[in-house]
Symmetry: C2
């Protein structure tokens, strides 16, 4: 067996390019004590990884140049020195190398939910779903009848947020980057109004879509979309900063209208959110998400890119919005 | 007895000028049922009144052109149709007209604390003190040993915030607009570092003053001061938006570096704050403030401008930082 891995060849300047990644042939590692050797089946590529490619303080340490990239993945156990797993088990973990084969600590992986697509472990029944669940419900605290705006609504997290907000009886307005995605959000997920930010006058479109203002803004995108949402927030509004994908490829501070005056006159709150803070409540979250999913109230949406060699491309594609829902590489 | 009042003659464009105000001779009103007639002694002039001079939605209705300006004041009861008050009582209220004599509902005024300067009812023992108390402790939630940065530190609210933060065992860094104010904050109030934003390189000065970062930022000013503070916030930091005086005189949205990325990577919170939301807890706040004040742990700072005719000037002076502590007009 030959192994292969994808390393950070250089730190991207702006939008990442293929030159920033390097494929290297390596050995298949041996599992140590309490470890499993996993043949990767699906790799999750996520916008937040762009932040780790920068040499800058954040909520998670940066990748080093010359080191393997890591993200969530699903794979099949090939060899196990843990009694918890045996060869053939399908497991998911939050930090696998972008490799054909990788070892992981047995405590850092878990078996996927049986009877459903294993890729849901990277989406609606994994970190993506949990991010939507805790970010919307715990930080955003939507109440029935309130208006929730979701930016990046057709992205991995956004799609789950939109659905949970509908389950909670909210009016849901989503912004996204294509008419096809708008159609999907509206027809398939019941989003009340979906707005294509590339072709709509955002201020007017949002004002029309949110006649009672915006009570909760779940923000995955930032930048000009947020500039258009913030003037519409209501008294006591909650703004969940989950991502700022519009800024991830810039090394310069993003400049725009300062949001503080809107927060001030509305006694509104804006909060940065990272799902790992909720680790102790993951069980509760997965249980609720699984119940909604299995009962058909919550749909999983994913875009599958085929081939390990296309992992960098799948990642780069996130920044032009190639994906509907979770972007996943199938090895 | 002749009465006089100060009306909004026109809405200011930019920094208010004397032309925006009109002095009008009027009748002394008669107190109706459950009302008191009050001869005003001290008028509170406050930055937030600038917002009310604009015809725009905010947390409080705008003043109408041609109508009297209203703010907090202290005065002497001249006539009372309420059994709660008798002539000679010194009372404070949150919404008196800028008048020599005004009537107020007996339920909207209260007797000042005996034995202390009645002007404290407009400052440390009034809305100003309560704003500092609830904004810092309830929204900011400082913990012992944390670093608290206060912008507008020598203003009415800022001075109280600095002192409460010191009482709570925090490292306190204040920004203000003159070396004299810096000296006052440092020597008289024990502020650890006071920075003159007009003469200091803010980024470097703040970095040096906050070697462990900024855990709580109590913001009265906004704009470029905040631009320099936000890159220094720590994980889990809390930003209290109490005022944005640097923007009050502009009708255009203020543009600068967007704060969302700093909130995101630090799971930090930014919240607009208005003290009236805490009305049900005012008793608790005043009790604690009075205890600190009477025991000498909390100082009252005020700048008294003499003469009713100087009320507009005293108000205008707020925007060039003429005041140290609470700006008050003595009639």
């Amino acid at each position: 067996m030959q192994n292969k891995e994808i390393r950070l060849a250089s730190r991207p300047a702006g939008v990442p390019t293929l030159e920033n990644f390097q494929f290297v042939e390596t050995e298949v590692p041996k599992p140590g004590e309490n470890e499993v050797l996993v043949r990767l089946l699906y790799i999750s590529v996520d916008p937040y990884l762009r932040g780790r490619m920068r040499d800058r303080k954040s909520y998670i340490a940066p990748f080093e140049v010359g080191q393997v990239i890591k993200s969530g993945a699903v794979g099949e156990v090939v060899e196990s020195s843990s009694p918890k797993f045996k060869p053939g088990d399908i497991v998911s973990g939050g930090s696998f190398g972008w490799r054909l084969y990788d070892v992981a600590n047995a405590d850092a992986v878990m078996k996927v939910v049986p009877g459903v697509s294993p890729t849901t472990a990277l989406g609606v029944l994994g970190g993506t779903g949990l991010t939507a669940y805790f970010g919307l419900l715990d930080v955003g605290q939507p109440k029935e009848g309130e208006t929730v705006v979701v930016s990046g609504a057709a992205g991995a997290v956004g799609i789950v947020v939109c659905q949970i907000a509908k389950l909670k009886g909210c009016r849901v307005v989503g912004t996204t980057g294509s008419d096809e995605k708008c159609e999907y959000l509206h027809r398939e997920l019941g989003v009340d109004v979906a707005i294509n930010y590339k072709t709509s006058g955002m201020h007017a479109a949002l004002r029309e879509a949110c006649p009672k203002g915006v009570d909760v803004y779940f923000d995955n995108v930032g930048g000009e979309v947020s500039d258009a949402v913030l003037p519409l927030i209501t008294n006591g509004a909650r703004v969940v900063i989950c991502g700022q994908i519009s800024m991830y490829n810039s090394d310069e501070p993003s400049v725009g209208p300062r949001p503080q005056p809107y927060l001030l006159v509305n006694s509104a709150m804006m909060k940065g959110f990272i799902v790992t803070k909720y680790m102790s409540r993951f069980g509760e979250g997965i249980q609720q998400l699984a119940q909604w999913f299995i009962s058909g109230q919550l749909k999983h949406a994913e875009t599958i890119v085929e081939g390990f060699e296309n992992t960098p491309n799948a990642f780069i594609g996130l920044f032009s919005g190639e994906n509907l829902g979770k972007q996943i590489v199938k090895i």
